[in-house]
Subunit: 409 residues, 2 copies
């Protein structure tokens, strides 16, 4: 009856359905949700935003700038803040001219696909990887192929073999406190991946939204710090350190890539919303960031420690989990063939449990049930008290399932 949709709407249908299923229906207020990846509401700088707005939203200050059309590349002083306060201290030598402000971190992935992906082009991703980005890649009709991961992140030997075999346009990596596993790519591999990009003329798309909330362990330089040829593109987000609802992110690229990003951004939404940009720039320039950063790191560290302690205590023997030095979640692999997709139905609807997580399967593009014994467990948005209650209930449910299975065998 109606006009035919474009091809891309079909290729993305599977991942879109996974996302709607994974992340929908998690807003039941009775539920203790380890599902979403949202920051804690206590980590949102509500009062600071009000104070800043009250100061600068005046005709003789930044009022016009905040409400009038802005530049495609983003607000100049926000870009300076990123270069001077977020990149330079991490060992990334960036120029403001090479930095574009995006409408949230994810937009960088969309823009990079606009730049590079013709239908059928290959993108290499981690196994498991962030399903939201797979949806973007599939909308652009890319063929996603997975690269092995271990506790130190993407396995570079497998990456090189697959670069040679599949000639990808893009390698998509989340190097720090990876989504969904919480794993961090080792320093040697960071160097190696930057080199592989240069050597084989492949774009390394480094998506690093969690790196700025490290609360234990040693800081590692981004892959971009080792890029000598402009093949690595660094994407990051203000979602975890400022506010996700503001939809602010940035992308750092070479001169050539930046010129194309300018065109793609223009043809996507002209520029990123100005009011959040002005407020975020002032958040840094007025010196609010260091204290806020310390506060959220303390908050998340306590929640991680509580979650890890509870998993170790209440989950069955043989459970494997990661120990993230930052970020918002851990990843657990259950023993005894328990299917986490099936378990989720019971854990969210059984009135004695009412605990949500994200089932692991959806993060594996390989399909075929891979990862169906895994779960992503977010602790960022849940109070330590509720973490204790929820993890105990979830752990008990898993243990009871396991006993039933063992009895049946």
């Amino acid at each position: 009856m109606m006009s035919q949709f474009a091809e891309r709407m079909t290729t993305m249908e599977k991942s879109a359905a996974i996302i709607r299923k994974l992340f929908g229906a998690m807003n039941d207020p009775d539920l203790i949700s380890f599902g979403g990846g949202a920051p804690a509401k206590e980590a949102l700088p509500i009062d600071i935003v009000r104070e800043i707005t009250n100061e600068v939203m005046r005709i003789d200050k930044r009022g016009v700038e905040a409400l009038q059309y802005g530049s495609v590349m983003g607000l100049q002083d926000l870009r300076e803040v990123v270069v001077n306060e977020l990149l330079s201290p991490k060992g990334v030598d960036a120029k403001v001219d090479n930095l574009l402000i995006t409408s949230g971190g994810l937009e960088a992935m969309n823009l990079l696909c606009q730049l590079y992906i013709d239908p059928g082009d290959v993108i290499l991703v981690e196994s498991p990887t962030f399903v939201h980005c797979v949806e973007i890649f599939e909308m652009f009709q890319a063929k996603c192929i997975s690269v092995d991961m271990d506790d130190n992140g993407m396995v570079t030997e497998d990456l090189e073999a697959k670069i040679i075999k599949y000639r990808p346009k893009i390698v998509y990596v989340i190097p720090t406190f990876q989504n969904p596993t919480g794993r961090t790519l080792s320093l040697d591999r960071r160097k190696k991946i930057a080199e592989l990009g240069s050597q084989y003329d492949v774009i390394i798309l480094e998506d690093d939204p969690y790196r700025d909330i490290r609360y234990s362990g040693r800081e590692l330089q981004p892959i971009k710090a080792f890029d000598e040829t402009g093949h690595t593109v660094l994407a990051n987000s203000f979602s975890k350190i400022f506010s996700p609802g503001s939809r602010l992110g940035y992308v750092l690229a070479s001169d050539e890539v930046t010129a194309k990003l300018f065109d793609a951004k223009t043809a996507t939404n002209s520029h990123t919303s100005m009011l959040p940009q002005v407020i975020c720039a002032e958040f840094f320039k007025r010196g609010y960031y260091p204290d806020h950063h310390k506060m959220i790191c303390d908050l998340y560290r306590e929640r991680r420690d509580t979650m890890i302690e509870c998993i170790d205590r209440f989950f069955p023997e043989g459970t494997k989990r990661t120990f993230p030095d930052g970020g918002l979640f851990t990843w657990a692999q259950l023993p005894g063939g328990i299917n986490t997709t099936e378990l989720l139905v019971e854990s969210t609807t059984n009135p004695d449990v009412k605990v949500a997580y994200v089932a692991g399967e959806g993060f594996f593009i390989e399909g075929g049930g891979m990862g169906n014994n895994c779960m992503r467990i977010s602790f960022g948005g849940v109070s330590p008290e509720k973490i204790r209650i929820g993890a105990e209930k979830l752990g008990n449910l898993i243990c009871s399932k396991l006993r039933l299975r063992q009895k049946a065998l």
Copy 2:
């Protein structure tokens, strides 16, 4: 040396270059600019935004909502505001469920292309049309074909003939105070275009960002009001009635199209920035809009009247110009073969003139010098005093050029 860009980056290169040329370098503060399409800075609700933020950015009010992740479709109460205050009074019977909030009005065009455009698909556009959208269409590798316009907008006979001939996926129309001409599509043609969409199974993409700033003449129902089959998709923007820098717009579509828009929006930037959405919703709900609307209509009416009066007085005999009943610009066609692209160099650099406008040529996808005697003249962002000075200088320059040409003949 570097990875090859996707095909789409080549197809959009021409229009991208036009945009960079047309709209760049217009920020010289010594210039009187009739170039940009930005609202007047006096029309920006700076104090209102501060007051609202001060009220609602509190933990026990809307603070969390404004900074936390939001829903893909947009803020519920902003969508209700649109339906009840902006669509229903205009004769559009809309459901909140069919309305998605976009990151600026342009994003709707990008999303619709994601839904419908495979490389080589045809989009019919007005002649002249908004070059910014042509850039989007070309990024999606659509083939744009122009449809004749007259003083009543797109000529429906030519439209029908071209629908039959080219089997387009989308017909792109700016019905009210069109960009760049300021023309308004007549009521009969609005009905006819909705019918043609249904009859030939073509999406009518109605882009109507100026309709809410009508300050003379009779209100006309949108094309969408006459759509009985869901083939018309209505896009609009808050840029002209609230703030362009906030990047807020909306798109109203059928159930089937809305479901796909949900997926495309998710894969573009997850959702629109929340803080501007919260503030904009409160701007309406607290009743600020009617007075603000009256203020900006009075402001623009005076500027239009001044501009029209000055063009009639200072531009040479034989100049044709439109008389827009709303919006931010008029369109002039100069006599005597004066090339407005060439003239722009002199008008912006000659220290005795220093007046900018947008040369007409770039708005015609036909190329070949079409429209090179036309100019888009924006009055929205310029004070009446400066309109008088600028239009007199520009008129004098045109008259002097004309005399030189006539002498030479």
